[in-house]
Amino acid sequence: MKTQLKAGVVALSLVAASTFAADIRIDGFPDYDTQIDAIKGGLPEHNITMLKNNHGDHHNKLKTNLATGTGAGDVVLIDVGFVGSFVNAGGFVDLTQFYQGMAADYADYAVEAGKGNNGAQYAVPVDLGPGVMYFRRDYMEDMGYNLDTVMSGWDSYIDYGRQLKKDGILLIGNASAVANAYYRFNVGEGEGLYFDGDGKSLVTSDRFVKAFELAKTIRAEGLDGNISEWTEDWYAGFREGKFATQMSGAWLLGHLKNWIAPDTSGLWGVSDLPAGIYGTWGGSYLAIPKQAKDPSASWDLIKYMISKDIQLTGFENIAAFPAHTGTYKNSIFDEPIEFLRGQKARLMFANIAKNITPVTPMKGDLVAEDLINTALDKVLNDNVDIKKALKDAEKQIRRRVR
């Protein structure tokens, strides 16, 4: 009898313990692998592991996992570009209850974007991507150029490229980034990147025409290297200082500093985009797939990852710009960043984040992004007329987004 009782107590306590301690696997992409150790330390009650894949593979894997209903992590990281396709997919746990009291602490537009058509919160923002331009200081002030003059407009930016060309320095790795920056950062209120509020395609609008024209000028004059982004040649370009600028989200700093070109510390600076436009480039969300073993344990991890402290740590470690707006008053925003030759860049990021026009993720974003990139490729490499390429793309988008 006594032993039975003892066994019962042991069994009960085991059951109780298991509701607290859980194995949680987070599926994500770089640079969050650098950040995971800091997270592990703060949640000793759970056993946290990370499955890292590169950005593209991670999302492909996630699609397969959702389609087959198996194999996804307990928490998944989702790039904002995929959020529009995923939030209405029905594969994720409704986080509205969990998130209710906290949502107000996070950037409004990003919180909104994580909601499905039914108004339920399926994904919560963890980092934002204020759009910026990284530039080589040794090719800017050290060579006698004035940053403010260069960045005053797109024409002056391209002029700077013409000057650099004489010294054998490229303006940018790939002209397509300029087109990207232009159409990403001039989105009107209430619009998506490629569609208006009603889901009508916007890709033949002036925003895209002008974006393509800028890129075409840069390519035609040989100011870029036609180096594809996120390839070995591109990384080498950063390491060897082949190009002078790169447009991106603030998060590129983390990649540059941690693995792409750590040796170039002190040679870089960051600036607003030409013509003083503000916009978002990237950003990540966290979500819990319905397959997760223990959603409440998964939420523990999410809650911790979006807590003020760990958001700040992430900002310091991997330049993942906090989605938590309460962090912006923290003193680390005033700290100089060594990699950027002591620039107080974080204040600038925060300023951009405050001025961002929200971009609404849409269902057809993935198809449109692909087709716009193809159209850009045709314009830049095959000399196809800009208006024709965009018209063709629009035709395809209309057919394919059903």
């Binding site: 699609k63 396709s85 390839t231």
Partner: protein, 331 residues
């Protein structure tokens, strides 16, 4: 005759049930042994084909689960057949199939002939060497070629730059100076050649082995007789080896047609998952993958794969029509 047939069921009816069970068991035994294959083939071979027929008439985003399938009739097929990208990718596939397929056989056949002429010892060593690329992982091979093709750090551009500069070779390579470094996998004008070379390199050994095996089946007496009649080495190749190799050529070329029309890995890896040279370098298989897994439109992808199936069927049929009977050895 008739009474024989009649008497059989009666005989069975008289048997007791245990015997009956025993007989059924004996009849089913072979199927039991076959079942691992039948089950695996059913699940992974037949079911996907049937499911894909079903899928091609539906609109389905896999991420939304099986419940979200919507019947759309022939819409996927109409969308596919009127899609300029689909025709462009079919054309790309065809061009790369020819660019890699024809040289494969033009090289493999004489190579096999020389290997056989060299005698068996040398032949075994060389065949193994030529066969190695075939059994190496396609992805690994393509990645290595990708590094070699690299614009700024690749060995091919480095070698060309050296040849363009060196005094002894500049008269022939000097003209390249203007265009170096070449974007072997970045440029639409070059990508088909770059992909085709990798495919050629990988499969030429396989075809060589087929032809070596074929040549080994030819009776040496024929060569000897021809030699005595004064036939030259070329005449022996042309009038003895080549005609007798027909079935092997037929087999090899059929495999090449089917394999090349399905080309996926090499262009996928060389264009870094479809980032470069998409106008000229995207094959129909790449496109179908993109529609399925990047655009999450499984129905359209299923329809495209049926279109691909028909295209391959047509090419194989044309080939069979022209060469089939002779190829298989009949007249």
């Amino acid at each position: 005759m008739n009474s024989d047939i009649d008497s059989q069921p009666r005989a069975i009816a008289h048997q007791k049930t245990p015997r009956n069970w025993h007989q059924i068991f004996r009849k089913l035994t072979p199927y039991g042994f076959l079942s691992p294959y039948l089950i695996i083939y059913g699940v992974f071979g037949i079911f996907p084909v049937l499911f894909m027929i079903y899928l091609s008439f539906h609109l389905w985003n896999p991420v939304e689960g099986l419940g979200s399938m919507k019947f759309v009739g022939f819409e996927n097929y109409i969308l596919g057949l009127t899609d300029p990208t689909l025709w462009q990718t079919i054309w790309n596939t065809l061009v790369m199939a020819v660019l890699s397929g024809v040289p494969q056989h033009l090289v493999a056949l004489p190579l096999a002939y020389f290997l056989v002429m060299m005698g068996s010892k040398a032949r075994h060593w060389f065949t193994t060497a030529y066969f190695l690329p075939y059994i190496t992982s396609t992805v690994a091979v393509s990645m290595i070629f990708y590094v070699m093709y690299s614009k700024d750090s690749g060995i091919i551009n480095a070698a060309l730059a050296f040849l363009a500069d060196a005094s002894w070779s500049s008269w022939i390579f000097g003209g390249l100076k203007e265009v170096l470094p070449l974007g072997w996998v970045q440029e639409n004008g070059l990508i088909r050649y770059s992909v085709s070379f990798v495919v050629w390199w990988k499969y030429v050994g396989f075809n060589t082995v087929i032809y070596t095996a074929g040549l080994a089946t030819i009776n040496p007496d024929l060569y000897e007789a021809a030699k005595i009649d004064g036939a030259s080495s070329w005449q022996r190749f042309r009038h003895i080896s080549l005609p007798l190799l027909r079935p092997f050529i037929f087999f090899g070329v059929t495999l090449t047609i089917i394999g090349n029309m399905n080309l996926f890995d090499e262009p996928y890896v060389l264009t870094v998952g479809g980032q470069f040279a998409q106008t000229a370098g995207k094959t129909i298989s790449n496109y179908l993958y993109q529609v399925a897994w990047e655009w999450l439109d499984m129905g359209s992808a299923a329809a495209i794969s049926w279109i691909l199936f028909v295209v391959i069927g047509i090419f194989t049929a044309i080939y069979f029509w022209f060469f089939g009977r002779k190829g298989l050895g009949g007249e």
